[in-house]
Amino acid sequence: MTGKGKRERGKVLLEVRDLHASVEGREILRGIDLTVRAGEVHAIMGPNGSGKSTLAQVLAGHPAYTVTAGRVLYEGHDLLGMAPEARAREGVFLAFQYPVAIRGITNAYFLRSAVNAIRKHKGVEELGPVEFMDALEEKLKAIGWDSSYLSRPVNEGFSGGEKKRNEILQLAVLDPKLAILDETDSGLDIDALKTVAQTVDKLRRPDNATVLVTHYDRILTHIEPDVVHVLAGGRIVKSGGKELARELEEKGYDWLREEAVVT
């Protein structure tokens, strides 16, 4: 993939148009427009409760959210018409802000089931436990984990930071086309943040894209975004270059909210 020379704009991977979504009858997303091309990293920032996770979950197919208007195309196909597992198999991955614990199921078993579900879909031979462990070795090393995490139940009793790293491990193992990371940098100490950021950065390729939901400028010094968006009140109220992130950290969101109150 090297030697492509000067950056050409990749093809459109995700296209969100006038997306409205509500939960329990309350409208949270009120007209989102977003275009993500292959090879790009987008950062989404915004105040608490502005709808960042809602957007992420709607893209992944969370059943609690109802899309009331708008459309989403993923590689030109109607994403919203696809079941969550179909989205995953086609390369959409969401690192959850609050990863879910699953009793009794080891991380290794969970990861292998996920990998094999996708391999089966692609018509590639499924991996046995031993082959899978071999393939996992280096990914574990990359996030600075030993294999003891693999024999523990999924996220059960994990610290906040461990859960986030576990999402990144899944990201590394599943190697999606569109990765949406919902505050994966929160709750990580400085070293962990660096490892996680490096892992994400290493996974960057011209044919995939990352949407990073974050409150902090720091992760963006490791993973340089192409675009920074501000989501407030269920809309993207401002988009800009990476310098916008710094500005937001310094000034907060209030100055934007004033700009955005047009409802």
Partner: protein, 450 residues
């Protein structure tokens, strides 16, 4: 209930015949024990749902039938008639294959189906009936039998004690370590007599003396789909500093009834892992009475019930912290499909003076259908003040958030559901220390959930 005494009458009559004939050679202490027990059974009668301890379980299906004592004295037992014995391959199929085995058919020892256990250090594993005929075995039995099981409070344990004749006898002398688990297998033929279906009363005694280490696997299984009743009692005695594991696998036949008591008593600094897997029987009731009777003792009580159809299984556990500095960790998971009904009662008693008790109890129930039902009742009775006791229980269908999480990783809803269901079992299996036993049980659980 005016008709309750009538229901006990046939058993009292059977007892008289039993005491007159085959059991008459017993030592005096045993005769007295049996006499007392049948009297107690007649007094207590079959329990009814009006009794607190039985509020979720009706034993009418047992009480309303007339069960005939399997291999009653005079009738040919399995050792007398090898013709009626099951094939060794049938037994093998039911074994976990982890170590030497002692086999019982309809409650009576079947030496030809058992594998000779050449045990180290004078340890013994065999039939209680045989042990009772020896001096040393008789002494040991006398010292422990019926000392532990609370048969005075339980009609079923009393009835078992009245008909006490055979079952497993395991003795591991002080400081002896058994490397391989001992397998004790109780199979029921499901054959009925013209007068009615059979009942057996297996009675087992497991004594692991101070500093000894041993694991025992107890399996209850059926060779046919016939109607029968198993009324079992097992007493486990764990000496000071000893380490013991008891795995109990209940895979009785689909039309059978099982009522059982497992009673354990632990001395100081001992460890006991009690692992229970309940898969079978139309109606099952299992009482577990665990007494931590020496400072520093540790108990893991780890159970799983997987039920389907119209199965009903009631686990009634009592953990008695009688001494300070003991720890008990109790985990019971239930997976309930179709119209099945799981009942869990977890009573924890912390006696006055049992300071520094560390006790944890959880019971999680997964309902796989809207008609399945689970009742979970924790009961804490704490009479000491410096203790740490936690408990929690859940009853509910598959968690939607977990389901979605798995789907978001590419798993179909069916695969996700099956993984989440298996997780309820795996959580319990993971606490089993013996790898071979755990793997075999894992396979059983997977087969069952498939």
């Amino acid at each position: 209930m005016t008709d309750v005494p009538d229901r006990t009458a046939p058993y009292v009559a059977d007892f008289e015949a039993f005491a007159r004939n085959g059991a008459s050679g017993a030592p005096d202490w045993l005769k007295e024990l049996r006499e007392g027990a049948i009297g107690r059974f007649a007094e207590l009668g079959f329990p009814t749902m009006k009794q607190e301890e039985w509020r979720f379980t009706s034993v009418a299906p047992i009480a309303d039938q007339r069960f005939i004592l399997a291999h009653a004295p005079g009738s040919p037992g399995p050792s007398g008639t090898p013709v009626g014995l099951p094939a060794p391959s049938d037994i093998e199929r039911l074994c976990l294959g982890a170590g030497p085995r002692v086999v019982f058919v309809d409650g009576r020892h079947a030496p030809t189906l058992s594998t000779p256990a050449d045990l180290v250090g004078g340890a013994r594993a065999g039939s209680l009936a045989a042990a009772l005929r020896t001096d040393a075995g008789g002494e040991l039995a006398r010292a422990h039998l019926a000392r532990h099981a609370r048969w005075r409070d339980s009609a079923f344990a009393a009835l078992n004690t009245a008909f006490l004749a055979d079952g497993a006898f395991v003795h591991v002398p002080a400081d002896v370590t058994l490397e391989r688990p001992l397998e004790v297998v109780f199979v029921s033929t499901g054959r009925a007599r013209s007068e009615g279906p059979l009942v057996s009363h297996p009675r087992s005694l497991i004594v692991v003396e101070r500093g000894a280490r041993a694991a025992v696997v107890e399996t209850y299984a059926a060779l046919s789909d016939g109607v029968y009743w198993t009324n079992a009692v097992t007493e486990v005695v764990v000496g000071a500093g000893a380490w013991a594991e008891l795995y109990r696998v209940q895979r009785e036949g689909p039309h059978s009834f099982q009522v059982a008591t497992t009673h354990s008593r632990q001395d100081r600094d001992s460890y006991l892992g009690l692992h229970v897997v309940t898969l079978g029987a139309a109606l099952a009731r299992h009482d577990i009475d665990a007494v931590l009777d020496g400072a520093g003792a540790e108990l893991i009580l780890n159970g799983l019930y997987l039920l389907g159809g119209a199965q009903h299984a009631d686990h009634h556990t009592v953990i008695d912290h009688a001494q300070p500095h003991c720890a008990s960790h109790e985990f019971f998971n239930g997976v309930l499909a179709e119209r099945s009904h799981g009942v869990f009662t977890g009573r924890i008693i912390v006696r006055p003076g049992a300071q520094r008790t560390d006790s944890k109890q959880t019971n999680n129930n997964l309902l796989l259908s809207t008609e399945a039902r689970a009742d979970s009742q924790p009961q804490l009775e704490i009479y000491a003040d410096d203790v740490k006791c936690t408990h929690g229980s859940t009853v509910g269908p598959i968690d939607q958030m977990q389901l979605y999480y798995l789907r978001s990783r590419g798993l179909t809803p069916e695969a996700a559901r099956s993984i989440l269901t298996y997780g309820f079992g795996a959580e319990i299996l993971d606490r089993m220390r013996h790898p071979v036993v755990r793997d075999r049980l894992d396979r059983l659980v997977r087969e069952r959930l498939a």
